[in-house]
């Protein structure tokens, strides 16, 4: 009888073991080698290859599929009464790829690196509100902020704020050691990098055994690789490319709204745009619905000059139809009764800019604004045109509302591309950060966005939607922004 029980138990375990599937198959993805020789696995360096760091390393907090903060390496968190001190409890039992255990020291080390002025990482601006941090237990970290800030978890979702092993700063660029679902097997930025499944991943072993990340710099070549079955997943498929994939059961294409936007900057520190009436007029002539159709082929959401994403909790509900009459009236009031002439600088760096420029030109003409669309070379655009010329095209990737408003419009922000200096606006943002009640805070952020709609120099006509392609052999793939995809769940046939 005892023998039978033993045999039976053994059988149950064997079957259970088989039911929990082992990682199998290879998933192939591509990256655009945007940083060439300067590519790196250091998540806070400028040349970080996001497609790799995202799978190798984890953050404290990750974006859930609905965009709200969800636990990653931090199991839970809490703030003190005025939201100036935040405590994060770090998950126990998590190991790095090199076998060492994750604890509070690693978290402190990672954040100290981000804030280090000598390393001068671009990610530093995201966490400038952190004044100091200390560990209050082997797995507890306390952040002390220099301003009350109710949304710290949102900020910590930033894709660059990954946790590294203590002391790994010098080698992390080529070793990529983290706690993520995949570990580095073979690194070759210019060719194919291979990641192998981390079977000890804290959220469960991944569904695929290997991920190959192939360097394909050219957008058209990436599409061809996808269509020919050489890669399985392709993000940011353009509308024109999407038509080639329709009607085939070999590919699935999903479209999701994002907060990424393209727009035109009218510098507020030069004539004639230093007059807020002129600025408002320039923005009123835009027929945003039409722009979404013409420039994005319908794949976008109208925005009313607010950089806040459409599904962000602080999004203001503003209506901004085209109003030629009011634009003309404002221009006349400001002394430009017979219109104005502007040079709008665009480049093919962002393929939709020239189209946006031309569509805007046609719309602005109705109010007597004579737009010259000036094509400039893509090479060096960010050094010679952006934040230099009076009117230039710009594009931004999505950010949480607080971060976007601070990085683009705060008087002292280094990327304040329209040179917008408005004390009232700064005060609104500061009050919003301090406000602990959610409804009141939201009201303040909404007020800030409405303020921008009245006074800002940047035309933000729409946010773009992203097309994500996956081949039919890929299963359990979250159709979401890249940084929210749960890679350990993906399986391939």
């Amino acid at each position: 009888m005892k023998l039978l029980t033993k045999l039976f138990t053994a059988m149950v375990f064997m079957i259970a073991g088989a039911a929990i599937a082992d990682p199998s198959g290879t998933l192939r993805e591509s990256h655009d080698l945007g940083f060439g020789e300067n590519s790196s696995l250091d998540p806070i360096s400028k040349g970080r290859v996001f497609q790799m760091t995202d799978k190798l390393m984890d953050r404290l907090v990750r974006p859930g599929l609905d965009g709200s903060p969800s636990a990653d390496l931090a199991e839970n968190w809490s703030a003190n009464a005025d939201a100036t001190v935040w405590t994060f409890n770090i998950r126990k039992g998590v190991k790095f790829h090199d076998g060492s255990n994750l604890d509070a020291d690693d978290v402190l080390y990672s954040f100290t690196r981000v804030l280090d002025p000598d390393i001068a990482s671009p990610a530093r601006s995201a966490v400038k509100m952190i004044d100091s941090m200390k560990k209050t237990g082997s797995h507890t970290v306390e952040f002390t902020l220099n301003t009350p800030f109710a949304d710290l978890p949102l900020t910590l979702m930033d894709y660059r704020l990954r946790i590294l092993p203590e002391g790994s700063g010098d080698s992390i660029a080529s070793t990529g050691i983290g706690t993520g679902p995949f570990k580095l097997e073979k690194l070759d930025f210019q060719g194919t990098t291979v990641l192998a499944a981390n079977e000890d991943y804290w959220a469960g072993a991944p569904g695929v055994a290997k991920i190959e990340i192939i360097a394909i710099p050219e957008g058209q070549a990436r599409l061809q690789a996808f269509m020919g079955g050489q890669i399985d997943i392709l993000f940011r498929i353009t509308e024109q490319q999407k038509t080639m994939l329709e009607g085939s059961d070999r590919y699935n294409v999903a479209q999701i709204p994002t907060g990424n936007w393209r727009g035109l900057i009218f510098r507020t520190d030069v004539e004639p745009f230093n007059d807020p009436r002129v600025r408002k007029a320039m923005r009123l002539v835009a027929d945003r619905e039409a722009l979404v159709q013409l420039v994005q082929g319908g794949a976008g959401n109208v925005a009313c000059d607010s950089p806040v994403a459409p599904n962000d909790q602080y999004r203001a509900d503003i209506s901004c139809p085209q109003d030629i009459e009011q634009a003309k009236a404002l221009l006349a009031e400001a002394g430009f009764a017979d219109g104005i002439e502007v040079n709008v600088h665009v480049a093919t760096l962002e393929p939709t800019w020239p189209t946006l420029g031309i569509a805007y030109q046609a719309q602005a003409a109705e109010a007597g604004i004579r737009v010259n669309v000036v094509q400039t070379p893509s090479d060096g655009y960010w050094n010679r045109i952006w934040m230099k010329k009076d009117v230039a095209a710009t594009r931004w990737k999505e950010r949480p509302a607080d971060q976007a408003l601070h990085e683009i419009y705060l008087s002292t922000a280094k990327w304040n591309e329209s040179f917008y200096k408005d004390v009232d606006f700064d005060e609104l943002l500061a009050s919003a950060r301090r406000e602990l009640d959610f409804e009141k805070r939201k009201a303040l952020y909404v007020q800030a966005q409405e303020h921008l709609f009245e006074n800002a120099g940047t035309l933000i006509p729409y946010t773009v939607s992203m097309n994500i392609g996956s081949s039919s052999r890929v299963q359990n793939f979250d159709a979401a922004k890249e940084e929210a995809v749960r890679w350990h769940l993906v399986t391939v046939d």
């Binding site: 940083f35 020789e37 002025p117 192939i214 360097a215 710099p217 070549a221 690789a225 010679r384």
Partner: protein
């Protein structure tokens, strides 16, 4: 003849030096430098300072050129703009890949072109000639990226017979490039064949009307014997120059094919390096391509001289 060779070699060396100076100045005059290209929006303050320090961009251009030139003479091509990767290694890999692609395309293109050139030359104005000559015109005038994309569409997407683009890394051994290299090879061979074919055809026609061919026919030489022993060697002489230029073109000028097929060759690396303002890499590739052009032209001239004794002296033929 030796004197002539020495003179040509010296001129070739001067050409290569001049090319390196011109390209260096050209990239220097472009706005921005390696750090602003890399950092883009973040190119200011401490980050920019650190970057420029570590890459030695604060020394003036003239000094940098001299250091680089001395390094090359000693055989050290230096490191890339990120301060780490050895140029000899990465450029060496790309050179190997470009040579391989060039070799494969030439091995198909040249024999095919010669064969078709002779055929169309001998049967001038017959259907065979009309067909191939017109096809050659099409192959020459249709831009390479169009024919490349059409071929990918047909063979990779619709039929699925061949992979569309190259996903192998630059440092892989050359045999791993099969079967992905087949489509680029075909496109290059098509363009090359078109040019060489027309050259061979016109020189075959020219040779067929010459006196010694008439003599051979009257003498009673069998037709094919005459074609192979008398027509072909003489008709191929002008083609040598075209083949030489084609070889040089294949090694540095096929950027479009390399981009469309994602092939890790020299052309693509040059474009990326210019965009990154990676001066050491740009210089290294410019040096290689210039040397190849000079060398290949020299080889073509020597071959022509060997084949045609009339050209072996410095003096022009007096008549």
């Amino acid at each position: 003849m030796l004197k002539m060779l020495a003179r040509r070699l010296l001129l070739g060396l001067i050409t290569v030096i001049l090319v390196s100076i011109i390209i260096f100045s050209g990239v220097e005059f472009l706005p921005g430098d390696a750090c602003t290209a890399f950092l883009e929006r973040d190119a200011f303050g401490k980050l920019l300072e650190n970057c420029r320090e570590s890459l030695g961009l604060n020394t003036n251009a003239f000094k940098r050129y001299i250091y680089w030139a001395f390094g090359v003479v000693k055989g050290d091509l230096g490191v890339a703009a990120n301060g780490l990767t050895s140029i000899a290694e990465i450029v060496g890999d790309r050179l190997k890949n470009s040579l391989f692609l060039a070799g494969c395309s030439l091995s198909i293109g040249v024999p095919l072109a010669i064969f078709l050139g002779v055929v169309t030359g001998l049967w001038r104005d017959r259907p065979v000639d009309l067909f191939f000559s017109t096809s050659a015109i099409f192959a020459m005038t249709i831009p390479e990226f169009v024919s490349a994309t059409v071929l990918i569409l047909i063979f990779s997407v619709w039929l699925g017979w061949l992979p569309g683009i190259v996903v192998v890394s630059a440092s892989a051994p050359v045999h791993e490039f099969f079967p992905e290299i087949i489509l680029p090879m075909i496109v290059l061979a098509m363009v090359m064949t078109a040019h060489i074919l027309r050259m061979v055809r016109s020189s075959v026609i020219d040779v067929m009307t010459s006196d010694y061919i008439q003599m051979a026919t009257l003498k009673g030489t069998p037709y094919w014997h005459m074609v192979l022993r008398h027509v072909l060697p003489n008709a191929l002489l002008p083609a040598i120059n075209v083949v030489a230029l084609t070889i040089a073109w294949l090694l540095g000028g096929v950027v479009v094919i390399e981009v469309v097929f994602n092939y890790p060759g020299l052309g693509r690396m040059m474009i990326e390096a210019i965009s990154d303002r990676d001066l050491p890499v740009v210089q290294a590739i410019a040096l290689i391509v210039a040397t190849v052009y000079v060398g290949v032209n020299l080889a073509a001239d020597i071959t022509t001289m060997l084949a045609n004794p009339k050209l072996r002296t410095l003096h022009t033929r007096s008549k």
